[in-house]
Structure formats: structure tokens, C-alpha cells
Amino acid sequence: MQWDFLLVQSLSGLASASSLFVIASGLTIVFGVTRIVNFAHGSFYMLGAYIAVTVVPWLLEIDRSPWLFFVGVLVSALAVGALGVLMEMLLLRRIYRVPELFQLLATFGVVLIVQDLVLLVWGPVDIPGPRAPGLRHGVVILDQRFPAYELFLIAVGPAVLGLLWLLMHRTRFGVLIRAATQDREMVGALGVNQAMLFTGTLFLGAALAGLGGALQIPRVSANSQMDLSIITEAFVVTVIGGMGSVPGAFIAALLIGQLQAFGVLIFPKITLVLVFLLMAVVLVIKPWGLLGKPEAAAGRVVLPEGILDPRPLDRAGKMLAALGLAAVLALPLLDAYAVKVGTEVLILALAAFSLNFLVGNGGIVSFGHAAYFGLGAYGAGLLVVKAGLPMEPALLAAPIAGGAFAALFGFFVVRLSGIYLAMLTLAFAQIAYAVVFQWVEVTGGDNGLVGVWPSRWAASREVYHYLVAAVTVAAIILLRRVIHAPFGATLRAARDSAQRADAIGVDVRTHRWLGFTLAGAAAGLAGGLYAFSKGSIDPTLLGIPMSVDFLSMLLLGGIQSVLGPVAGTAAFHAAKDFFMPLTDHWRLFLGLSIIAMVLVFPRGLAGAWDTLRRRRA
């Protein structure tokens, strides 16, 4: 290979890196100050692009000057910043005191809403933006032609970095941002107007995302899938750099840009998984990212988020559980389709319950729980399709597959904590997804495999429903038992204070690893049941949207109670099933419902139930 080519390829990498950095810097600042994992950041990016393809052509009608182009880009960024302020004031401000995970769920609700609003406002057709006047041409560098606009982009990254540095070190607002990033409580103690600080931070973060989106319009058309395509990568950059570290994000973006540019030369299919591989490697070696710092909260004494008091069910609770069980058993008497939905709710409830075993009970937040669900489905499905085994042994293989991979990935995962742990679970899930997606000969690739149907005796909807009911209810009861048993209590103890657990002789890491494996096995079992209910397996079972669904179900139900996730699953699935046939814009309504739930029941359905009962008492 020639040097000139390598240089130009490297410049391509720099241009991508620069764009990625602009977006990720906003995400990392918002996280640093508010500690909110803002899923809606990708939506701001998308809005930046859409506003820019609306505003910029209008400005260019007046005069085709480069200056007006950049005025348009800046106006778009500021407009998105204003939307960020709107989100902060209308939504986030009301939920700073609710557990962090609920904030995440609320921002996910915003993602769903923005997706549909964009379709409503701008329509479904991709909108190409104008090229930047004066930067339309290619510049010849060592015999290779390179877009002038990308040279400009390469300069934008360092410029934004420099401006952010000035902001952080030369203004009071910036100093406060840095202080809050280092120690959030301290800023509160200093008597700083926290609301103003947070509003300002959201403005800055959203504006940076909007800027990133607006700057893309000469390269890509504005389209309604931009949000999700960028958000994972922005998170990866943020995590690799160290959450809250702007220079870290810069280094991470450079790394990713170069790896992508040269990676595709050697492995043309690598882009699917490259960033996640890098994130996994970085986190295994540096548990807080390249420039991140360990969470300062280690010595602090705060009430944990999660199951607080796994007391046995009281009478009302028992009645509710019995009622639920009766409904499950009576479904086949009602309506054939209700049986189908009921079966799915049961399966997903087991998955959500197993996730809460980690999140609520163990304080181990997994963003990639669908991996074990999906691997369980594949474990069972492959045995049926490839080895010709019947359903019964294949179902046995499902928890084994889920558990085995959970043990493998969990070995690394439990070495981390907090958001980094969550992101590593995501990385492993994406790696598993990529393998399943790419290994066409065995897994059928993204088409998946079909023909995973139950044995003849269980083929009818009703019989399969009862089979699922028996298995899932037994598994949930068993897991619930484990929560009350010493093993569950130990995980809870380690969540409350790892230091104390260590000092009473508990090997925290090993217990977490075993817990992770157990939850993975339970999710795998659910996955196996799911495969047989659908007749097919495909990579979406392992995907991020599936993991997010599980988290949503869990949070809707409430992580603080043992059986809340089961209620949450029923509510979430029912809501989705209700809105989907109703309108194309079901995501809008689902998002609104999620936000309404977070605002009205910040502790989930189970929390609301609890409050209700206490008020009565």
C-alpha cells in the first residue's frame, strides 16, 4: 500500500473522529454534571440535522455564501440547545431525585417521542442537505482527492475541544461544571443554584449534539434512523474516554476513527462490532476508561437503589399474586389471541425478573441482558433446527447456553462497577449479537432460523401457554426464593456496601459472578421458551432494543420490589400491544406512557402500590 493512500485514509478517520467527538463531548458533559445517562442525546443529534436541512437551504436562498451556511449550522445547534433546555425544565428537573435508572428510562421515552415527531414534522423521506458553499470540491493531497469539507471537519474537533477547555477554565459556569463532575454533592453544598447549572449543562450538551448533526448535512441526508445509529457510538466514545472527561472523549474518538478507517481495509465487515470490541478491551484493562476517575461515592453512605426490604408478601400482595396467577390460568377460556399475548408476557416477565435479580437485588445494572435471552433462544433453536432434537432437551439447553455465556462475559463484567459495568455488558451483548449476525453458516445470519416449533403434544396455543406458565412461574418462584436465601442476601449486602461485605469475609466478586451466571441462565430459559412461541430465532433477540425493553419493563414495575418486574412486564407489553395496532405512531404513545409513568410513579408500579397500601394503613 502506498503512503499517499494511507495518509488520506487516515484523514478520513480523522474527519469521522472529529464529528464523533463533537457529539460525544456533549454527552460526556451532561453525564458528568447530572449523572444522567441521556439516551435522548442521539435524538438531539438527529434534530440538529433535520433543523439544519430546513434552515440552511432557506438561508442559502438569500445568498450562497459559506458564512450563511455556518450561520445556519450554528442556529440549528442553538435551536437544539433550546430543546435541551426544554427537556430539562419539563422533564429532567422533576426527576433528579428519582433513582438514576428511571431518569434513563425517561430519556428513552423522549427518544421514542422524538422519532415519531420527526416523522410527523418532516415526513418519512430522507432529506438531503445542501453542501457547504466554497467547500464542495475535493482537494488533491499527494495525488488523492479528499473532500475539502472533511478537511474543515478535521479542524472542528480540536476547535471544539479548545473552546470547551476555555469554557471550563475561564468561566464561572465552566468551573462549576468541572466541580460538579468531580463531586456533585459539593456543588450543592456550595449553595450554587443547581437548577441553573443543570439547565445550562443540558443546553450545552444538546447544542453540541445539534452541532454534530447540523455539521453532517453536507455528508448524509437527514433521516429518521440517525438517532439510534449515533447514540451507541457516542456512548462508546464517552465510556472509552472515561465518563465526564472531555479530553478522554477526544482521544477515544481519534482511536475509533483511525481503527474504523484502517479496520475496514483488513476486515470489511468489522464496522458492526469494532467499537464494541475496543470498548470491551479498554474496560477490561482500564475499568474507568482512559481518562476517567473512579466514582467518588465509594465512601459515601446512601440508600441503595434496588430491593430494600424483601419481606414476604402480605395478605393483599398474596391476593394480587393469586389473582394474577388465576388470570394466567384462565386466559385460554377468553380469547385465542389473549393466550398468545399472555404467553409472551410470562416469558418476558421471567426475563425481566432475572434482570431484576441483578439490578434490584445485586446492584449490577446490565444493559445487555438480552444477550443471554437470545443466546438461550439460539441454544435451543440450533438444537432443533441443526441437530433435529425435539423441544424438551432443547429447552434444557437454553438455560445452559444462557448461563454459560453469562459466566464467560460475567467473569470480566463483575470486575467493574456502575455505569462502566453497564457499558461492558452492552459491549459483550453487541459482540454476541455481531457473532450471531455474521456467522451465517451456523446461525443463519440476520435472517435467523425458522422451524423452532414445540413438540406435537405442546403445539396448540393453549397447551404451550400452560407449559410456559408452569415453567416461568416455577422459575420465578425459585428465583424469588434465592433472593430471600443467603445467596440473595449476600448479593444485596455486597450492593449496599462492598467494603463491609469484604470485611465480613465475603468474596464479593465471585458471588456477583455466580449471580450473573444464574440470572443469565434464567434469561436463557426465557429465551428458549420465546423461540418456541415464535417458531424462529434471529439476532434481534440479542439486540440493544430488546435489552432496553427488558429494562423498561423492569423499571415500570419497580426495581425496589421483588415482584414488581412481573407487573411491569405485563403493563409494558400490554401498552405496546395496545398502541401498535392503533396507529403507526405507537412509539409516540409508548414514549408518552413511559414518561407519564416515571413522573407519576417514580418508583414503578410496585412502588405506587406500596404507597397506596401505606396510605390505607
Partner: protein, 259 residues
């Protein structure tokens, strides 16, 4: 045999020498205090004994067995209980639940999957709470307790492992003065009655001079004096670099009180 013996413990952080050649011994039933100004290396020394830090050089032995560099959970299983500067308890558990959890860990039952954890070791837990005077509060959530009471529960948790040695990092930090002496008296009583060795660091000179059998004075990572409270108090070097006027006064007060 000496219960705890530290020989030549040394630890560097970057270029800073946090502990240099620290050696001491401790017998069962004895209370040994490590004092010194901020940054003198107290916590470093303490954490090298407890397993949180691995020394660059030197050796820690417990009843003749080398425990140097063992992780805290292993040190615990050797019979070492520990309390922290900021009390570390299981906030989502009740008072008795905290002690039950410690007993479950002590009996190696943490991996049991079926029995109800909160039905286990109830009597033993209650007995431990009795010893620290917290039995009446057994069923309250620990988050509701006053801080001094939390410290007592933490002591019960540490005792659940039937320790030969207690490591207490600033046991009275954050407590009201009246609570402090009560807690230290409780610790001293238990230590002497059960022949448990207690190694503690402390800022409160009243507590140190009233309850320690022997005192180590650390300054800039080095031991500059050691001995009984009287000997340390009389040491001119200690007075100059550390105790100063107020320290001497505290020592006087303590001597009078125990007169």
C-alpha cells in the same frame, strides 16, 4: 505468642513514602492506638494490616501466620474483625439482619440458595446485639439509627466473626463526645474480657489516652515514639511535633479521670 506482629512495613505512593519501616506487636486483650497528624501514614499502616493495601516491604503475621498481602475477606477469615471510619453497614437490612448477614458469612453459608436468610442465626445475632447494647433496636431498619448506634451495630458485625483481633479505623469519628467514651469503654471491656487485641487509629486524644494500653506515634510515615500513654505523653519529641499544647492537656485530663 504475639497475636499481631508487623515488621518493617513500608509503602510508597508514587514518590511519597507513606510508611517507612513500621514495626509493632500486639497481644490479645491489648488496646494499641496509632496516632499522628493528618497524612502521617496511620490509614496506610492500618490498611496494610487489614489487607486493603499490599506493603512494598515488610511482613504482617497473625498468631504466627503470615497474612501479608492477603485480601480483606481472607484476613477476616483468619479472625480479624474490622470497623471503618465511616461506618459501613448493609443499609437495606434491619439491625439484626446486618448481624445475621455477618454470621452467615462467618459460617460460610453465603452460597446457600434455599433457606430463608433472615430466619438463620437469630439467637446468636441477638446475643451479639445484647453485648453492644442494641438488642432493643434489633428489628429497626439500620438507616433509622443515630450514628453512634450504627457504630455499635458495626462493632457487633465485626464481633460476629469471633475475631481474635479488631481493627478499628477512627472508631469515634463523627460521634458526639458522650457517645465516644461510651463506645470506647464498651470496646475496651469486650477486648479485655475476651482477650481480643484491638488496633485502632484515633483523632480524639481523650479516647486514646483513656483507653489505649500502648500508643504508636507516626509522623511522616515513621514511628517517632511508642509506649504507654504516660511515656508517650512525656516524650518531648511527641509534644513538639504532634501533641502540642492541647494534646498535653488532653493527656493530663485523661490521667486525672483514670487517676
Amino acid at each position: 505468642m504475639t497475636l499481631l506482629s508487623a515488621e518493617g512495613l513500608t509503602k510508597r505512593f508514587g514518590g511519597v513514602l507513606a510508611a517507612k519501616d513500621v514495626s509493632f506487636g500486639l497481644e490479645g486483650g491489648e488496646m494499641l492506638a496509632i496516632i499522628g497528624p493528618n497524612g502521617a501514614g496511620k490509614s496506610t499502616t492500618f490498611n496494610m494490616v487489614g489487607g486493603q493495601l499490599r506493603p512494598d516491604a515488610g511482613r504482617v503475621t497473625l498468631a504466627g501466620q503470615d497474612i501479608t498481602g492477603m485480601p480483606p475477606r481472607a484476613v477476616c477469615r483468619m479472625g480479624v474483625g474490622r470497623t471503618f471510619q465511616v461506618a459501613q453497614t448493609f443499609l437495606s437490612f434491619s439491625v439484626i439482619g446486618n448481624v445475621q448477614m455477618a454470621l452467615i458469612a462467618h459460617h460460610g453459608q453465603t452460597r446457600m440458595l434455599l433457606p430463608d436468610a433472615m430466619a438463620m442465626h437469630q439467637d446468636a445475632a441477638l446475643a451479639l446485639l445484647e453485648r453492644v447494647g442494641m438488642a432493643a433496636q434489633a428489628d429497626r431498619p439500620i438507616g433509622e439509627l443515630a450514628y453512634g448506634d450504627v457504630k455499635r451495630v458495626e462493632l457487633a458485625i465485626a464481633l460476629a466473626a469471633a475475631p481474635r483481633l479488631l481493627l478499628m479505623d477512627e472508631p469515634t469519628a463523627g460521634m458526639a463526645p458522650a457517645e465516644r467514651s461510651a463506645l470506647m469503654a464498651l470496646v475496651a471491656g469486650i477486648a479485655r474480657a475476651e482477650r481480643i487485641g484491638v488496633l485502632f487509629t484515633e483523632h480524639d486524644m481523650d479516647a486514646v489516652f483513656a483507653h489505649a494500653d500502648r500508643i504508636l506515634v507516626l509522623v511522616r510515615g515513621e514511628i517517632i515514639a511508642r509506649g504507654t500513654p504516660e511515656e508517650v505523653r512525656a516524650d518531648p519529641e511527641v509534644q513538639r511535633v504532634y501533641l502540642g499544647h492541647s494534646g498535653t492537656r488532653a493527656a493530663e485530663r485523661a490521667r486525672r479521670a483514670h487517676g
